[in-house]
Amino acid sequence: MENKRIIENKKQFNLKQFFFQWEWMLVAVFIIVNIMNTSLSPYYLSFSGIMDASMTFLDKAFMVLPMVFIIILGDIDISIASITALSSVIMGVAYNMGLPMPLAILLALTVGAVCGFINGTLIVRFKELPAMIVTLSTMTIFRGIAYIILEDQAAGKFPEWYSYLGWGYVGPIPFMLIAFIVFAVLFGLLLHKTTFGRSVYGMGNNITACRYSGIKTDKIKVIVSTLMGVMAAVTALFLVSRTGSARPNIAIGYEMDVIAMVVLGGISTLGGKGRMLGAIISIFIIGLLRYGLGLINVPAQALMIIIGIILIIAVTIPNINLDKLTKKKVAA
C-alpha cells in the first residue's frame, strides 16, 4: 500500500487575519492622509499635481526597495546616501572629461555596485562587526572620496536628453514613476516569489539554521548589498537629472529617510518580518503628506515633527499587547 503523506502547504484563508495586516493599516493611513490633504487644500486633488509631486519624492524611493531586503536580513546600511553622492560625482566628472553620457551612466552604476560589494564583503568577512558600524565607516569614506574628486565644485552641463530621466513624461505619467513601478515589481517578485527571497526571510529569522541547511548565506548577503549599491546609483541618476548638477554634498540624510520609510512599512529591524508592499505604500504616505502639507504652507520643519511622530506611533502599535488590554485579570 502506498503510504504517502501529503503536507498541506497552503494556508487556510482567514478573514480576520487578512484584515488585521499591517498593510491594511497603511492603506487606511494613506486614505486618511489623502482625505486630510483634500479637505485642507482645494488644489491637492488634481491628477497632474500629484503626478508632478511624485517626482519630488521618488528619487529616494529607489533605495527603499533593496533596503527592505537588507532590513529583513536584520542588517542596516547607512552608507547609501554616500554611495549616491560618490556615483553621481564620478558620473559628472567622467562626462565632463569627455566620456559619452551612456557610458558615464554605466560607470555610475558600476561605482554603486562596487561600493555595495565592498560593504557586503566587509560585513560577511567580519561577522562580529555589526553592519551599522561597517557602513558608518564606509559612509565617511565614500563621501570623502566624492569630496576629494570634486572638492566644492559641481559637475554638470549634462546633455539635453538626460534631464528627461527626472523631468520627462510618458503620456500623463512621469517617466520616473514608471521606472519606479518597474523596479518595485521586480524587487517585489524577487522577494516574494523566488528562492532567493525566501532565503532572505530565512536568514533574517535564523542565519545559522540557514547556513546549516545549505543556503549560501554569505553570497546572498553580498548580492543584496551589491543590489543596494546599484540602486543607490540609480537614485543618483534621477537625482542628478532633477538637480542638473552633481555635487559631493547631495543626498545628505537620505539614509535616515529611507530607513524611516522601510520601518514605517512594517519591516522589523530585528529581521525576518515585513513585506515589500508595506514599504511601497509608506513611500507614498510620506511623500504625499509632504506635498499636501506643503501646499497649505506648513513649514518643512513641522513636517519633520509629524513624520517622526508617525514613525514612532507606527512602530509602537504592534508592541502594545492587545490581549493584555482586552482580557480581564483572573482573580488568583
Binding site: P130, Q301, M304
Partner: protein, 324 residues
C-alpha cells in the same frame, strides 16, 4: 579579555604617539601649548557626548537623536539668554541641561517602557527634536551679538588656568568613570548589555536601567548643547546635524562594542582624543579639508577591523589553551 583591551589601548596610544611625532615633524606649531589647548577645547564637547553614548551602547542600544537634542537645548538656552541678557550663565546651562534631560527621558521612555527599538525611537525623535528646534527659533539664527558676554564667556573663560570646556569635560569624565566602574547602577548597565534576560532574572530592573541610560545621554547632550552654542557664539536650526555619527565613531574607536556589554571610559578617552587630533592636525599639515572625511573614514575602518582581528586571534589562542 582584559589583556586585549590593554593591548588595544596601548595600540591606539602608540598610534596617536606616532601620529603626533609625524605631525610635529611636519608642523612644529602642533605641540605648542596654544594649539594643544585649542585641540582639547575642540574635543571637549565630543568627549562629553561620547561618555553618554558609551552608556547607551553598553546596553546594546543606540541614540541617533543626540545631534538634534544638542541643537534643541542649545537653541532654547540661546533664546532665553537673548531675551534676558542679565541671566547668569549658570542658569543658561541649567536650562539647556533640563531640556536635554526631558528629550532623553522621552527617548528612554519609548525604548524602555514601550519597547520600541532604540534605532527607530531615536530616529523618530531625531526628526521631532530637529523640527522643534526650527519651530522655536522660527528658522532664524541666534547670533553672537544677541548673546550676553557672560554667556559667551562660558566657553572662553578658564577655571584654575584650564579652559572651562576642558574643565567641565574632565569633571564629567571623573564623575562618570566612578559611576560606571564603581557603583552598583553603573555595573548594572554592563549586565543589561551583556545579557538582558539574565540581568532581569538576577533582579536588575532592566527597564529602569535603560531609562536612566537614555536620560543621562539626554542630560549630557543638553549640557553639550549649551557649551556648543557658547563656543561658536551662534545657535542655528541645523546645529550639529549628523554629529551623532561622529560621537558613535569616537566610541567605536575607543573600543566600545556596539553589540553591548563591552567598553571602558579609558578607551573612550583615547578614541575621542584620536578623532580630535585628526580634526585638528590635518589642516595644520596642509591636508586639503576635502581629504579629511576620507582620511577619517579610513582610520575608523582600519581601527575597527584591526580590533576585530585582534579579538579573533585572542579567542583562537584561548581555545587552543583550553584543548590542552
Amino acid at each position: 579579555m582584559r589583556n586585549i583591551s590593554k593591548f588595544r589601548e596601548a595600540g591606539l596610544l602608540a598610534f596617536i604617539f606616532i601620529l603626533c611625532i609625524f605631525i610635529q615633524f611636519k608642523n612644529p606649531s602642533f605641540l605648542s601649548l596654544e594649539n594643544i589647548n585649542d585641540l582639547l577645547t575642540n574635543t571637549a564637547i565630543l568627549s562629553i557626548l561620547a561618555v553618554g553614548m558609551m552608556m547607551v551602547l553598553l546596553t546594546a542600544g543606540i541614540d541617533l537623536s543626540i545631534g538634534s537634542t544638542l541643537a534643541l537645548s542649545g537653541m532654547t538656552a540661546a533664546l532665553v539668554v537673548s531675551n534676558n541678557p542679565e541671566l547668569s550663565p549658570i542658569v543658561a546651562i541649567l536650562i539647556g541641561v533640563a531640556v536635554g534631560t526631558v528629550c532623553g527621558l522621552i527617548v528612554g521612555f519609548l525604548v524602555s517602557i514601550l519597547g520600541v527599538f532604540p534605532i527607530i525611537a531615536s530616529l523618530g525623535m531625531m526628526n521631532v527634536f530637529r523640527g522643534l528646534t526650527f519651530m522655536i527659533s522660527g528658522g532664524k539664527w541666534v547670533s553672537a551679538h544677541q548673546m550676553s558676554d557672560s554667556f559667551k564667556a562660558i566657553a572662553t573663560s578658564s577655571v584654575l588656568g584650564i579652559n572651562t570646556l576642558i574643565f567641565i569635560a574632565i569633571i564629567i569624565y571623573i564623575v562618570f568613570y566612578y559611576f560606571i566602574s564603581y557603583t552598583r547602577t553603573g555595573r548594572q548597565i554592563y549586565a543589561v548589555g551583556s545579557n538582558v534576560a539574565s540581568a532581569k532574572i538576577s533582579g536588575i530592573n532592566t527597564k529602569k536601567t535603560l531609562l536612566l541610560v537614555y536620560t543621562l545621554m539626554g542630560t549630557l547632550s543638553g549640557l553639550a548643547g549649551v557649551l556648543w552654542v557658547s563656543k561658536f557664539a551662534s545657535a542655528q536650526g541645523d546645529t550639529a546635524t549628523g554629529y551623532e555619527l561622529n560621537v558613535i565613531a569616537a566610541c567605536v574607536l575607543g573600543g566600545v562594542s556596539v553589540a553591548g556589554g563591552y567598553g571602558k571610559v579609558s578607551g573612550l578617552l583615547v578614541g575621542a582624543l584620536l578623532l580630535g587630533i585628526l580634526n585638528n592636525a590635518l589642516p595644520l599639515i596642509n591636508v586639503s579639508p576635502f581629504w579629511q572625511n576620507a582620511i577619517q573614514g579610513v582610520i575608523i575602518l582600519a581601527a575597527i577591523l584591526m580590533n576585530a582581528l585582534v579579538k579573533r586571534h585572542a579567542t583562537k589562542e584561548n581555545l587552543m589553551r583550553r584543548k590542552i
